[in-house]
């Protein structure tokens, strides 16, 4: 059983807390992505599992044993570094063989395992070369081969694709996913790229400032972000977040589109009525809230509830991003399909929000937490 667990894990470097009270469990066989921007603590968390850093507090477990005090070499984990960390003075074959030598595996078995690992990653021809003679993609595969040859309990990957060019990245992404699902080894994968996270992870753990923001499947993370940070981080372009106030429409000072008793989010030039299921959940919160709407849930329509001015129109071929500015100055991006009529810059438009209750995300304006539960 190669489950990985963080329990109240904290890591401090002097004054700064890199990982703050992280509690997270990765079941056996899962590929969990640790996602976040630089400095959020994801790499530190990974290194804590590897044993390259010491915990300040809490425990890390692999399988059913606590590994806090166990040396990296006895933890049975393998790590792929961002820079690959290939031994430059050893040939590819010897690089891959290295972990086996340390474990006293006998010669024949070593040769067989190296061969298998090399073939799995298409390195059969390159065993005699030195790392300096390989391309970036090839070096990356050597790093992977070195990791899998030991058949460890856990794979740890620290942004392994970030040094590859875009095309290679896409290809290798698929290769890693395929490899992991075949080997079924528990994998912790660190990245700042949300596209990688969304396409590769069984689950994603979003981190910011050392704290775990949310851990869920990509679909859940996308559809039900538990706070404004996660909401905005995922998605390209990210979710639109606008500050406003919860008001019952029909009151004197609000221009409402809905009838009496409809809960709306109001801000300058806009009064967005909330569908009943949503309103029922969030009634009583606020009044200051943050309304989140994904660009694909928005349309330009004369009946729209948000008044805005077009600032930029980005033609991306298959779709168009219309970046608008509301009367409060907030930026709202509307995604249009290629065929829709494109507005001109400076044009005054109205933005309509989809009827589907799932298109509305409300967050507390001070804590950023999702309102009304999941």
């Amino acid at each position: 059983m190669a489950q990985v667990s963080f329990d109240g894990v904290t890591k401090r470097f002097g004054e700064t807390t890199a990982v703050d009270d992280l509690t997270l469990s990765v079941p056996d066989g899962e590929l969990l992505v640790l996602l976040g921007s630089s400095g959020c603590g994801k790499t530190t968390a990974l290194r804590l599992v590897a044993g390259l850093e010491e915990l300040s507090d809490g425990t890390v477990s692999i399988g059913d044993r606590v590994v806090n005090d166990i040396d990296p070499k006895d933890r049975d984990v393998a790590m792929v570094f961002q820079s690959y960390a290939l031994y430059p003075h050893l040939s590819v074959g010897k690089n891959i063989e290295f972990p086996l030598r340390q474990r006293g595996v006998d010669k024949e078995e070593r040769a067989a395992k190296v061969k298998r690992a090399a073939e799995t990653l298409g390195l059969g021809e390159l065993l005699g070369r030195k790392p300096a003679q390989l391309s970036g993609g090839q070096r990356q595969r050597v790093a992977l081969a070195r990791a899998i040859v030991r058949e460890p309990l856990v794979f740890l990957m620290d942004e392994p694709l970030s040094n590859l060019d875009a095309a290679l990245r896409v290809q290798t992404r698929a290769d890693i996913v395929e490899l992991q699902s075949r080997l079924r080894t528990t994998t912790l994968y660190v990245t700042h790229d949300q596209v990688e996270a969304m396409t590769m992870g069984h689950r994603i753990a979003v981190m910011s400032n050392g704290k775990l923001q949310q851990v869920a499947t990509p679909e859940d993370l996308y559809a039900r972000p538990s706070n404004a940070f996660v909401a905005h981080f995922l998605g390209s372009p990210g979710m639109n977040l606008v500050e406003g106030m919860l008001v019952e429409s029909g009151t004197a000072d609000v221009e409402g589109a809905g009838g009496r008793g409809t809960l709306c989010v109001a801000f300058a030039g806009a009064s967005v009525p909330l569908p009943a299921p949503v309103a029922d959940r969030v009634r009583g919160s606020g009044p200051d809230v943050v309304l989140g709407m994904r660009p694909e849930s928005l349309r330009l329509s004369p009946d729209g509830s948000i008044a805005a001015t077009v600032v930029i129109v980005e033609l991306l071929g298959a779709e168009t991003h219309v970046i608008c500015s509301t009367e409060t100055g907030a930026r709202v991006i509307v995604r249009q399909s290629a065929g829709a009529a494109k507005p001109g810059i400076g044009e005054a438009v109205r933005i309509e929000v989809d009827d589907d209750p799932r298109a509305y995300h409300l967050f507390d304006s001070s804590t950023g937490e999702r309102l009304g539960g999941s």
């Binding site: 300040s56 005090d69 499947t217």
Partner: protein, 305 residues
């Protein structure tokens, strides 16, 4: 496969596949006992090594402050209970350390300044000017580094003597006013200056002299400092040349040769001669502390790519 709703924070500890959730209790910080042992081990080893390395100097300082009788004591005193500071003044005056230090200082100053100037001029030519035989001449400068002093000192002594420079500052310093190492180091530094700067200066009407003094030299300051400290150390600590190029009735001894004079076999002389050694050594250590970076830079110019 975990397909339930998204969770945050502590609740995520509940593993969806049925394994029991970890207790959310606070955990005391775990100190790795083995790690700590290793750290203590490292410190012990390092301290022991440091003591061994520093010990000779330390005991020298101690002994320089002792009365001769204390030197022969068993066990030897490890700390001067009654420091004989007058040993230092004795070394300075009757031991002539003051004269030796002055001589060394003057000679070193001449050499350092000379090496800096000749190296700057030559390196500037190699880095910024175009002229025929540039590569050959540079090679010639580097080749001098391979000509060791044992084959040159015999003739140099004759040269010095015939120029009436024996036992003089000229004789002590002039053979060393140029160094291939300095030219190499500064040329590298000058080559780092981007071409654009040179062209901009040209457009602004800077002649070579102004460019050299206002732009190139200031920008190459780190390498200049490295060269200066390297030259200083080399000149101050030199032994062979000051030994053979000085002599006669009023020999112009440097600190190094002076130390040799100071050292006698009489036990009574030892503390004074040790005081002389301390005078010769301690200022350099202070210099090392201040200019550590520059010194390391010059010493490793060839070792690390």
């Amino acid at each position: 496969m975990p397909a339930d709703a998204s969770t945050t924070g502590a609740a995520a500890a509940a593993a969806p596949n049925g394994a029991p959730a970890a207790a959310p209790a606070r955990h005391r910080p775990r100190r790795r006992p083995r790690r700590r042992l290793r750290t203590i081990g490292s410190y012990t080893l390092l301290t022991a090594a440091a003591v061994v390395v520093v010990f000779p100097i330390y005991i020298t300082i101690v002994n320089s402050l002792l009365v001769p009788d204390q030197l022969v004591q068993q066990p030897p005193p490890l700390f001067p209970t009654d420091p004989q500071w007058h040993n230092y003044s004795a070394a300075w005056t009757s031991g002539q350390m003051s004269k030796y230090v002055a001589t060394s200082a003057i000679m070193t100053a001449i050499i350092v300044v000379g090496q800096l100037v000749t190296s700057i001029l030559a390196a500037y030519a190699f880095a910024f000017l175009r002229f025929p035989f540039k590569r050959t001449l540079f090679a010639i400068c580097l080749v001098t580094l391979m000509i060791p002093f044992e084959v040159t000192f015999i003739t140099n002594l004759d040269t010095i003597t015939s120029l009436h420079w024996f036992n003089s500052y000229a004789g002590l310093s002039i053979p060393f006013l140029a160094t291939g190492f300095g030219i190499f180091l500064l040329r590298q530094a000058f080559l780092q200056i981007p071409r654009d700067l040179q062209e901009a200066a040209q457009l602004d009407g800077y002649g070579h002299l102004r460019f050299m003094t206002r732009v190139a030299v200031p920008l190459a300051r780190p390498s200049l400092a490295a060269l200066a400290i390297f030259s200083f150390l080399g000149a101050w600590n030199q032994y062979l040349w000051p030994l053979i190029s000085t002599g006669g009735t009023t020999p112009l001894y440097t600190v190094q040769i002076g130390l040799k004079q100071l050292l006698g076999t009489e036990v009574s002389q030892i503390p004074v001669s040790l005081a002389g050694a301390v005078i010769a050594f301690v200022p350099l250590v202070i210099l090392l502390l201040i200019f550590q970076k520059q010194l390391v830079r010059s010493l490793t110019a060839g070792a690390v790519k």
